[in-house]
Symmetry: C2
Subunit: 411 residues, 2 copies
Amino acid sequence: MEVIKMKKPRIVILGAGYGGIMTTVKLQKMVGTNEVDITLVNKHDYHYQTTWLHENSAGTIHQDQTRIPIKDVVDFNKVNFVQDTVVSIDPKAQKVQLEDGELEYDYLVVALGFETATFGIKGLEEHAFNITNINNARLIRDHIEYNFARFNNEPGDREDLITIVIGGAGFTGIEFAGEIANRVPELCKEYDVDRDKVRIITVEAGPSALPGFDPELVEYAMNRLEAKGVEFMVGTPIKEATVDGVVVERDGQEEEIKTKNFIWAAGVKANSIVEQSGFEVNRGKVEVRDDLRAPDYDNVIVVGDCSLIMNEETGRPYPPTAQNAIQQSAVAAHNIKELARGGNDLQTYEFNNMGTVASLGHDDAMGVVFGDKKLFGWSASVMKKVIDNRYLLKLGGIGLLLKKGKFNIFH
Amino acid sequence: MEVIKMKKPRIVILGAGYGGIMTTVKLQKMVGTNEVDITLVNKHDYHYQTTWLHENSAGTIHQDQTRIPIKDVVDFNKVNFVQDTVVSIDPKAQKVQLEDGELEYDYLVVALGFETATFGIKGLEEHAFNITNINNARLIRDHIEYNFARFNNEPGDREDLITIVIGGAGFTGIEFAGEIANRVPELCKEYDVDRDKVRIITVEAGPSALPGFDPELVEYAMNRLEAKGVEFMVGTPIKEATVDGVVVERDGQEEEIKTKNFIWAAGVKANSIVEQSGFEVNRGKVEVRDDLRAPDYDNVIVVGDCSLIMNEETGRPYPPTAQNAIQQSAVAAHNIKELARGGNDLQTYEFNNMGTVASLGHDDAMGVVFGDKKLFGWSASVMKKVIDNRYLLKLGGIGLLLKKGKFNIFH
């Protein structure tokens, strides 16, 4: 008689952003090590809160508050952790190519997040800074500080060193503007720079800041930021970034804003590995089935910014948010477990909009919660921190919340 | 009968470094506002401790500990303070040209300090950083931090970003090496850089570090710094600084050390305004009479790094130190008062060597005190802080000492 040794199904999760880490944390509680083999792959040995990076970039919070060691939330007795960079996926052969090796899988969760979209704007790749990870957020902080330090060391009146230009007045651009506006007085004190010489300019191609937001909220945000010294140039597309600054188009004329601090916060797209790996895509994303599986592969689930789900009401995709990725992780974890066990009781994902709050510096915010309740100022700012803290609680319990939470609600 | 209105004698003091500020502080206690008119001219509205700048450059102490607002130690009811930059002196016409005006004087104290000597080394002016004032010390701190931040953002293995080259193993070079060696582990933690990849290289043209120091002390210093990871290249002249690094000559061969952090700490000379203003000079300095007056002008006193006094015993000039400048200020204040009153009871200056202690990071030092007592390690480090604190006490009393003193003797 022949003994057939059953191999345990191999689950591989790519990426430890919101979608990937939450799927891993949920999955490790649902399955036993005797039934499946789980591997999490991530470039760094930490998870980070992408929605806090504007604060790290401005230097208003430290990166160690934003990032969380993966070992602190993932049980390494249950999950193999591989610190490596994904190069490509071969969904037909069920293999993932890493920089330093290769992984085979039976079931795959793709949670590779986003990258910057430059929309083909000339010079953007070379001359703009992006707020996309811990390394480049920290670099932005240091870059701005360094230019403030240079200001009193360079001959002539080098106001380009203390001019900060933000490309895009969407969510990230506005949140960064709020933080840097709070930070500038500290920078001026630290580097002996006259506040009146510093400029913060937000350049937006669209007719207004924060497209998609309620006009009353947009008005509130712009007024509050202007009061903190932020200038807005709306209806002003950026034509080019150069070593000296940013070329914009205003009233049909090209105009140069001299700056050494250009932060591009206007565009994200799905990680291009997804499209390059041969998945069927819509605008670079995998338009997933309602159980979050790729349309063309039964054993691949895609979550977060690499996935696309249509909002039937509006006929437009749901925006790629942390909220969406986190909600997907529950369904992703359940379904991958079900598939690995050979079951077919797959859950259906439906986005439940909890609202959106945008911070305008740590002391101010605005947004919509509970369906249609508008919040402004301090109460919105507290709500924003409640949302941030709630995630930490979900991810790592009360211990993580106490370690990394935001509790400065009375400043 | 004709009434002759006597004009009060005008005393002008140029520079608020060690010599200038101490002369001013002493003088304001000796004379009444009804008898003389005292004006202090300085580029900034603060005095700073040049001997602490290596700590600001390394980022181990903050510039606000090193600098002291002039208004905190100078009585503005007794002294006119002019914040301006000296352009030139016309000792014949008794005028001082400032960037934004002109001053006439009856009696002048020249205390304009030092500037960097490049010895004509190619590229040094463009590519090296100097530890000479608050602005450029802060810039060095931020420059090194910025390059550490860049390290994880640049493609390839850019170890030039985390290589620090110090030109010169004299007093400043050694003290900076000690500080930056202490700082590097913090930088590695802050910027996620592997300590083993960071290099600190001290390049010295002479056959050994710390020329003029007792060999036992030199040996101690080099051993301790090497234990902290500092590499020494002695007998190694720097031939050129470039945008990519430093070209040195070793064993007759030119060799490039790739670095973006090149700190030149090997040479100082007197402020060149002194020579340009037509004073009789020896190696760019005014070889003063024993009452500290310029040989060619009876109404001009020169103190600090712009003055030169021969050590009769050795036949060589006393080194330009803070200790020397501070000691001179007592004689300078007395003599300028005496001259302004029309007296001729001028004092004679004699340097009283109190010893020298060089720090090797805040936790270590070595030096000679009380004539010939050698100190090492913790006791030397405490002595170094005692010396620093004693100056604050002299300058601004117990209040200033408590505000700016160094009390971390148990770390």
